[in-house]
Amino acid sequence: MPEPGLYHLLFISAALFFIGMFGFFTRRNLVTMLMSIELILNSVNINFIAFNKYLWPNKMDGLFFVIFVIAIAAAEAAVAIAIIINLYRSHGSIDVEKAEELKY
């Protein structure tokens, strides 16, 4: 097996992104869709850190982007879960097929 480098990390990150996308397409439960979004955000973070390490080790921009992405992901997850719990209270279910008043 070859020595791991930038391309290996990009492979992992792309694979994680599209696994998350697959989950986002197939799941119909809001909590599992949120999990897929977390996978996608993590793949982006791996990308940032890999580029920072292998291409621009004299700067720290990728690292700071990762810190801010993590902070915003935490805020996003908290707000999303508040919305999910509110939806469960009003509809009795968190299936996206059951919450379609805004669709028509």
Partner: protein, 176 residues
């Protein structure tokens, strides 16, 4: 092939396998646990790249915070022992096809591209360097984004409480 290479491949396969299980299992609690394993694997990759601070942040925020939040919301919204409903075969097939095509396209582009970096005089990602940059107000400091993110976190905190707060019963009666 040395120890570092072996550890990299172990971490990568652990991360990807648990990610696949997290999006395909039909028991939602198991999906949350596999998501936890995926996040730990990603933290391991950060450790492997020697970005210790980011790995620690990943473990504290994702593994310790977001996963626990997700598990709690599962407890609040799901009946114990329920399986997620089976999805239509065609939808799964097309989702897998779309994901695979996108993945193939991206990897084709990545392998054809030669990345040109700047490898002069590395700045080690130690906590001291990160702190100096994070609160620096000169050209490449991050003081302003730091403050903006702290305002955003405060807004999210207040927003969560307002959204999830149970409205008073008499207000409901008036609305109905």
């Amino acid at each position: 092939m040395n120890g570092s290479t072996i550890i990299f491949y172990l971490l990568a396969s652990f991360t990807l396998v648990s990610a696949v299980l997290a999006v395909t299992t039909r028991q939602i609690f198991r999906a949350a646990i596999f998501l936890l394993f995926t996040l730990i694997g990603v933290a391991g990759l950060y450790f492997w790249m020697q970005y210790d601070f980011i790995a620690a942040v990943q473990i504290v925020v994702y593994v310790g915070g977001i996963t626990v939040l997700i598990i709690f919301s599962i407890f609040l919204t799901q009946q114990a022992g329920d399986l997620l409903p089976k999805q239509k075969m065609s939808r799964q097939l097309f989702a897998a096809l779309a994901s695979f095509c996108g993945f193939a396209l991206i990897m084709l582009q990545v392998y054809q591209h030669t990345f040109i970096g700047n490898a002069t005089q590395a700045l080690p990602p130690t906590v001291a360097n990160i702190g100096n940059k994070m609160l620096g107000v000169d050209d490449d400091g991050y003081a302003l984004p730091f403050e903006v993110v702290s305002i955003l976190l405060l807004a999210a905190l207040v927003g969560c409480i307002v959204i999830a707060m149970r409205s008073k019963p008499e207000e409901n009666i008036i609305k109905q």
